[in-house]
Amino acid sequence: MKARIAAAPYLLWAALFIIIPMGLVGWYAITDMDGNLTLDNFSASMRFAPVIGSSVWLAIIATGICLVIAYPLAYMISRKSGIGQRTLILLVMLPMWMNFLLRTYAWMTLLENNGVINRLLGMIGLGPYEMINTPGAVVLGMVYNYLPFMILPLYSVMTKIEPLLIEAATDLGCSPWETMKRVILPLSLPGIATGITMVFVPSVSTFVISVMLGGGSFMLIGDLIEMQFLGNAYNPHLGAALSLVLMAILLLCMVITDMFSNPEEKEGLLL
């Protein structure tokens, strides 16, 4: 009973700012401009299937790249001494102390047609290359911004793998590669699942990155939703329906990654 009272402030908060707004989104999604019940908003959402598809695709690529970069790095960090681990984790988090918009702006000036990179390349007679306003630039922005969210859960799971287990595997005949495959990888699955979720979710719903680095030349689902509320295509009903579609995609993604993580070792999911 006491515990319930202690939770009261949060429950009130959740009711006011989560449950009620969600209800409103749901209500908007199934009504039209005149307030009549309709499913048209969902069928209209389907017209944007290519946008949704490319959003998911870019997010998958970005998540994959993050995993490939983060996994060996997290493993390397987890095998360092205590001070080494703390220093390196601090370095991983350092960029996050800077404002997200600022960081993305910095990439704009780097990637522009007469930006820093193209000018440097020009000096040695290369380029200019079209880098900004490409899907590659958007993926780069996602990887750059969300990489720490992949490294941290992987690191937190790997640092719990005892060195003794690695010795035991070696003792039983595992080469370093086999030790990775048979011991470290299975034991770090919960971290992989958490990392994928934590990178995929913000990547698939981002709109700032695609606006700034994609230049609006192509649309992601986040941009599409934003346009329905703030842009000239003003249609909150369609926007609400699109938001629900996005939520369904994210839920699906989380269920899939959850299936891969060992049911008995869920600690990583809590980070």
Binding site: L165, E167, A169, D171, G173, V183
Partner: protein
């Protein structure tokens, strides 16, 4: 030593960490199918010796030979050696069967053969029917037996065991000691066992190697080491002992505790200071007037099989520890008799060595009371 069937040889192996010498020019030979125990207080280098043979620690100097072949540069996973680790190190993501199967899968043994061997091994360690259990659902003793099975199922030439029974309670420990010895004889595998528990060493070993400060103090059969300890350190480490100052008057005659008694040792010279070691169970108790020594029982503690008496004569400094199956009440006067073969004469330790002995034994008794710890 007969070299024809030597399995492992260490030659001048030295290990140094940041200038601290952990192993000092160690020479050790282990014969095929032998059960050898490395015994010593914590920090004596016994675990390091094990890790050298397992391939987890590289010697700063010296060579390691396996079957006559130098294996200094062979990584652990290519050595025909398996280890039972102190804290088991079972794989938490695998069940009992999969843990034991781990090494066999690496060597790509056919599935039929794997099944057969694992079944045999589970029966041997008394865990048939536990195949599908998760390892974190097992008790300490069961985990220990899985760890032993996981190592033995690979039929290594040499099994290294690093204080494998340290975490078990006394009863289980005794059972496992007998079990391990049986398994070793049944499979004909060479065992190299590390412990700081002298009783464990005496129970199981064909040969005991006593170590201190990275050096071997004495090697020999349990009986040899118990009966003929080479110095006071070994005497005190193996079993309990009365160690007192004495003077070797001449060959076969020693003076200690104010008496001159015949003994079996000679070759020390005349009037040389020595340590005299007397095992508490070697005293014979008699009427006070018939004893070589006589004294009052100061304390009596029941130890299960025997009583441990502390006996001191009024006005004398020495206090004797006496083990007897018959109790003598505190305050009663008794006589004590030694026959010449009960008196063991050792070269006197230098004061530094004596201080080391005291601190090593203290550290060890703390260790036995509390939790075990790693050596490095």
């Amino acid at each position: 030593m007969n070299n024809t069937n030597t399995l492992i040889s260490l030659r001048g192996v030295t290990v140094e960490y940041d200038g601290v010498v952990v192993l000092d020019h160690l020479d050790l030979d282990i014969k095929d199918k032998e059960f050898v125990t490395l015994l010593g207080p914590s920090g004596c280098g016994k675990t390091t010796t094990l890790r050298i043979i397992g391939g987890f620690t590289e010697p700063s100097q010296g060579d390691v030979f396996f079957d006559g072949v130098k294996i200094n540069d062979v990584p652990p996973y290519k050595r025909n050696v398996n280890t039972v680790f102190q804290r088991y190190a079972l794989f938490p993501h695998l069940n009992v069967y999969e843990n034991i199967e781990f090494g066999l899968k690496i060597t790509k043994l056919p599935e039929e053969e794997r099944k057969k061997r694992i079944k045999e091994m589970l029966a041997m360690v008394g865990l048939s029917g536990f195949e599908l259990r998760r390892v974190n659902q097992l008790s300490g003793g069961q985990q220990q037996r899985v760890a032993i099975a996981r190592a033995l199922v690979n039929h290594p030439r040499l099994l290294l065991l690093d204080e494998p029974l340290g975490a078990l309670d006394l009863k289980l420990r005794k059972e496992m000691q007998i079990e391990l010895k049986r398994i070793q004889q049944q499979l004909g595998i060479t065992f190299l066992y590390v412990t700081h528990d002298q009783e464990e060493a005496l129970t199981m070993s064909d040969r005991i190697v006593i170590m201190k400060n990275g050096e071997i103090q004495q090697m020999g059969t349990p009986t040899d080491i118990y009966n003929e300890p080479i110095n006071a350190f070994v005497a005190d480490f193996i079993g309990e002992s009365n160690i007192v100052d004495g003077v070797m008057i001449e060959d076969y005659l020693v003076e200690f505790g104010g008496r001159r008694l015949p003994c079996l040792d000679g070759g020390f010279g005349k009037n040389v200071k020595v340590d005299v070691v007397i095992r508490p169970e070697d005293w014979e108790i008699c009427k006070p007037e018939n004893g070589q020594f006589r004294g009052i029982v100061k304390s009596s503690v029941f130890k299960g099989v025997h009583y441990e008496l502390m006996v001191q004569a009024p006005g004398e400094e020495e206090e004797w520890m006496v083990h007897t199956i018959e109790n003598h009440p505190v305050g009663s006067e008794i006589g004590l008799i030694l026959t010449p073969d009960d008196i063991h004469i050792m070269n006197k330790m230098s004061p530094e060595e004596e201080a080391e002995l005291v601190s090593a034994l203290e550290a060890d008794s703390i260790l036995e009371d509390g939790e075990e710890s790693d050596e490095e």
